[in-house]
Each structure stands twice: as C-alpha cells, then as structure tokens.
C-alpha cells in the first residue's frame, strides 16, 4: 500500500508539472463548455433579411413590421428587383429575402390568396431551414389574427409542446455531449499518453524489474485520472447549472455513479491504447482519431443517430459514448431513474469489463 501511495504521489507530480496536461485537464473542459454553450448554437437571433416588396401596401407593411419586431430577424435592407437577390446573397450578410408579389393586399381580399416567396441562403442548410420555419410561423400567426372573426367549420389546430427543453436551448444538448467528450479525452487520452511516456523514457522497464506489480503500476497510473475526471465532471455540471441554467432533473447521485462508470470505460480504453502503441505520439493519434471522432460524429451528440444510414447506425452501437449520452440526457433532462436506463448502464458495464479483460490480456502478451 505504501508503495502504491508513493506511486500516486509521483503521478500527481507528473501532472502538475506539465503545463500541457494541466491545460488539457482543466483549461479544455471549461473552454469547451463555454464555446459550446455560448458560441455554437442552433438557435437563430437577429438574422439579417432583405425585403423585395412589389406591392408596398398596408398588408405587406404590416407583415414586415411583424417580422422585424420579432427577436429572430432584423430587416437589413429593401431591394427593388429580383436580380438583386443573388447579388445580396453573394455579399453574404443577408441570409433570407422575402419576396411579396404585386398587388398583395388586393389579391388577398379579392381571391383570398396572396403569395409571398421566402428565399434563403442554403449554404448553411440548418440555418436556412430554421429561418424558413420561423418566417412561416410568423405568417401563420398573422393569418390567424386576420381570421379572428371568421369561424371555419373544420379546422385542425396543432398545439406543439416541446417537453424537457421548452425553450429549445442548444446548450441542453451540448452539455451532455461535451461532458462525454471531456471525460473520454481526459480519461482515455491522458492515461494512454502517460503510460506510453513511461515506455518511451524506459522507466516502465525499471518499474517492471522492481518488485512493484504490473497491476499496481497500471492502477497507480490510472487512479489520479479517475480523481481528476470526477472533478471535471463536477465542474461541468456546476457550470451548466449556474451559468447556463440547465436543470438537473434526476438524481445527482445516479449521475455521479454513471459518470464514474463511463470514466472507467474510458480508462480501460486508454490502457488498451497504451498496450498497442509504443510512443506518446501514436497513443495521442489513436486516441484522437479512434476515440474523439466517433464520440463527436457517431454518438448522437451532434448528428441524430436515427437519421444515419443503417451501417453507421450499427457502428454507433459499439461506441460507449452513445450509451453514456443517452444515460446522462435521461438523468439531466428527463429526470429518469435507473428503471429507464438500466439497459444502457448494463451495456456500458459490459463494454468496460470487455476492455479491461482485453487490455489485461494484451498487457501480459507484451510482457513476454
């Protein structure tokens, strides 16, 4: 035991004396959560739009006012002819143009049918989609006001309610994802680098010749990162609660336990990577490409798994992060308990045991 404590003390010296690891450990989680929380967002705010109004009557004026009054849009400029639309998009600032047909008011009254064209700059498809949805919503609202006094005999009125995230804040989606990335990065990449570093320096050999057991070496190397990862998870949860006002609906204890499980999964992966790579560089590349990319792309963090092609959906099942994201989204946003996430937890547990088993086996082979 005394040997073990000495070993852990040494690990902490390594971590605290290396600025690079300190930055990855503590700078990155905070920077990432801030970036994802503030800068990267799916919501639209004050998008610049232009108006091409061929009729310039009372109705079009009213609609334009409604649109510019909303917080989503600001009218950047008025244009006079169709050919200006392309020029204006090429400049890049304006993201959408509203094109009112000639005699808008008159058509509306006479034919009960007036046309408006929404042209959006779809170089960014998500934003274009959101803009067109928002403009539609404003128009529907306006139409309702017009028909206030008329009763239509048959009418289907959908009432949409967005549960768990009524304001559709992107940060609710990013916090679980960022937490997953950070825990994966810190646990897997940092441990694999720290173990391969001993190999590279030749100190691993010295440790193996000493009476300290290989298992003690590995646990000793991994232990500080379990501790630091837990601190990181706590920091991320606190940031999301106090800065982004994201509620944690479920049990904090359960969240903690699930996080510890995922940390151990990631550490097991880190050990596995260290057994197959001889240098720190290799370990880092494998961690980044082999772990980070799948976590970002295939875990359902940013891109919904259900809209992926079938082969990718199948691959996503073997990515531990996918299951962890389901678990923490459940706990944080829906407030679910173990009865709803036992299956995911079990899968994660199984993966962890598998990775630990595999790395123990690899480690033994390497010793030969």
């Amino acid at each position: 035991m005394k040997r073990f404590i000495g070993f852990i003390k040494k690990e902490f010296y390594h971590i605290f004396r290396d600025r690079r690891s300190l930055f990855i450990l503590f700078g990155m989680p905070i920077a990432q959560i801030m970036l994802f929380g503030f800068a990267i967002t799916n919501e639209i705010n004050n998008v610049d739009i232009a108006v091409l109004d061929h009729s310039k009557d009372a109705t079009t004026k009213e609609i334009i006012n409604k649109i510019s009054a909303s917080k989503y849009f600001s009218i950047n400029q008025f244009i006079d002819k169709e050919s200006d639309i392309e020029t204006i998009f090429k400049k890049g600032k304006v993201k959408a143009v509203l094109n009112f047909e000639k005699d808008f008011s008159k058509n509306l009254i006479k034919d009960h049918n007036a046309k408006i064209q929404i042209v959006t700059d779809a170089t960014d498809p998500n934003t274009a989609n959101t803009i067109s949805n928002y403009v539609n919503a404003i128009l529907i609202q306006y139409q309702k006001e017009l028909n206030k006094n008329i009763t239509i005999s048959y009418q289907i009125v959908p009432r949409t309610r967005m549960v768990y995230n009524p304001e559709l804040k992107s940060v609710y989606m990013f916090v679980p994802g960022v937490m997953t990335i950070i825990l994966m990065l810190v646990s897997a990449m940092m441990t694999s680098i720290s173990i391969t570093r001993e190999k590279e320096l030749g100190t691993m050999e010295i440790l193996l010749v000493s009476p300290i057991k290989p298992i003690q070496v590995i646990v000793g190397k991994v232990f500080p990162y379990i501790f630091l990862s837990i601190i990181n998870a706590i920091v991320i949860v606190l940031l999301s609660i106090f800065i982004f006002k994201m509620p944690v609906q479920g049990s904090l204890f359960l969240l903690g336990m699930e996080s510890v499980l995922f940390i151990i999964t990631a550490l097991a992966l880190g050990i596995l990577i260290s057994t197959i790579s001889a240098t720190q560089q290799t370990a880092m590349m494998i961690s980044l490409i082999g772990l980070m990319l799948p976590v970002i792309l295939l875990s359902g963090f940013i891109f919904p798994i259900s809209s992926m092609p079938l082969p990718l959906q199948m691959i996503s099942n073997i990515i531990p992060a996918k299951w962890f994201i389901i678990i923490i989204k459940g706990i944080m946003l829906k407030g679910v308990g173990m009865q709803f996430i036992w299956k995911e937890t079990l899968i994660l547990l199984g993966m962890t045991i598998f990775f630990i088993g595999l790395s123990v086996k690899k480690y033994k082979i390497r010793l030969e």
């Binding site: 005394k2 070993f7 040494k10 390594h14 290396d18 320096l201 050999e205 010295i206 010749v209 000493s210």
Partner: protein, 242 residues
C-alpha cells in the same frame, strides 16, 4: 557449491518463432564479481539479461539468480537485484530527492531508511546543490551516476547494468567504473553488458556472446593469451568474425 555462486545458468534458451535469440547458454557468476557480458548488437545479450531479471520467461533451460529460480520465483529475484538501463531512466520532471524517494518507495524501504540513504547518496555524489532541482536539468554524466546509485538503493545482491556508459565522456566513464569497483568491493555482484572493449578489461571475467551462444568465457588476461592478442578488442573481433 551454492553460496558462492549468485547466478547459475544452465542451457538457458529463448526462442522467438523459429529464431533462437539465446541458444542454450551456460555460465556462473561468483559473489562480488564484476562480470562483463559482451556481444555485438543483436547477439542476444539483452534478451539473456531480461530472462535473468525476471521480465522475460525462458523457453527452456535453468537459471538461478540470487538464490531463486527464474521460472518459479521471479518476484523474489526482483527484490534482490538492482537494474540500470541504457537510458539511465529516472523521471526528468521529478527532483533528485523525489526520484530517490520514489524508487526507494517502490522497493519497500521505510521512510526513515529512505531519508538516511538519500542524505548519504546525495553527499557521496556531491549533489547537495541540485538535490531539489529537476533531474531533467542535470548533465548526462550526473544522471548516470544517480541512476546507478538509485539501482543500489535497496542494497541488492546483484546489480544488472545494461550498457551503462553509452554516450558519456571518457572521464565520466572512468569515474563511473570507480563506483562499480566500490560497489563490488562492498560485496555487490555486478553484471554488466557493454560494447566498449576497454571496459571489458576492467571486468573480473567476461563472456562473449555471438549469435545467441557464449563463445568465450574467462578473465580478460587469459582470453588475450588464448587468442594471442594484446587487446580485448582483437579477441572480440576474432570471435565475432568467426
């Protein structure tokens, strides 16, 4: 026969695939002896040494190190030997004192013992001024001496040195050999691999490995007589060229 022989090897073999890296070597090392283990790169000396220090399992053959069998009691061997690799592996981001404390700790020395030992060691090496400096800042020669002292910290019966003088200047090499002599005079057996033939002359006995086999084993003096040459270098060349 036992007590005086700290290493007894008989027919020790290591086979990788169909290549015999170490091919049935047999030798003995006496207590307090400086035993030179020579051979060209790839001759199998590192593989042989790895089997003796318990980090590689022999394919066949017998070996007894510090009174323990390599097959059955590798863990006991580890407690009784010291090892210094060609990389002088210490932790660069730990201070001299922290390195000593750490390595003392993993060999199970008590805190008090570590304190006493490190005070003596730092004084002997003249490292008082840099005791609290990071090892990374020390010149190579100092690292090498410190590394050797650390390998001796737990007073092992045998110390294994894997090409301990690679890359250091002749004066430091000379000083290093004085440390080896001192350790040997205090009863520690020194098992050293090297490819500097002038260093071979400093050993009590040397063995020369060629292609996984020990081709010669005797005192440097007798080897030179046998091959009728003036320098160990020529002995080596004659053997290596077959």
């Amino acid at each position: 026969m036992k007590n005086n022989k700290v290493i007894q090897v008989e027919g020790l073999t290591k086979i990788f695939g169909d290549f015999a890296a170490v091919n049935a070597i047999t030798f003995e090392v006496n207590k307090g002896e400086i035993f030179g283990f020579l051979g060209a790169n790839g001759a199998g000396k590192t593989t042989a040494m790895k089997m003796l220090i318990g980090i590689s399992t022999p394919t066949s053959g017998k070996a007894n190190v510090a009174g323990f069998d390599v097959h059955k009691h590798a863990e006991d061997i580890k407690k009784n030997i010291g090892y210094m690799s060609q990389k002088f592996a210490l932790y660069d981001d730990l201070t001299v004192k922290e390195n000593i404390t750490f390595f003392g700790g993993i060999y199970g020395l008590s805190r008090k013992r570590i304190k006493e030992k490190s005070a003596v060691l730092i004084e002997e090496l003249g490292l008082e001024k840099v005791a609290n400096k990071l090892v990374g800042a020390l010149p190579l020669g100092w690292k090498q001496k410190l590394s050797f002292s650390v390998a001796l910290l737990h007073e092992p019966k045998i110390v294994f040195l894997d090409e301990p003088t690679g890359g250091v200047d002749p004066i430091t090499r000379r000083q290093f050999w004085e440390m080896i002599y001192k350790a040997a005079s205090e009863g520690t057996t020194v098992f050293v691999t090297t490819h500097y033939m002038d260093e071979a002359e400093y050993c009590d006995r040397v063995s020369i490995m060629v292609n996984g086999k020990i081709e010669a084993l005797d005192t440097p003096k007798r080897l030179k007589e046998k091959f009728k040459v003036d320098h160990m270098n020529d002995v080596f060349l004659k053997l290596a060229r077959g």
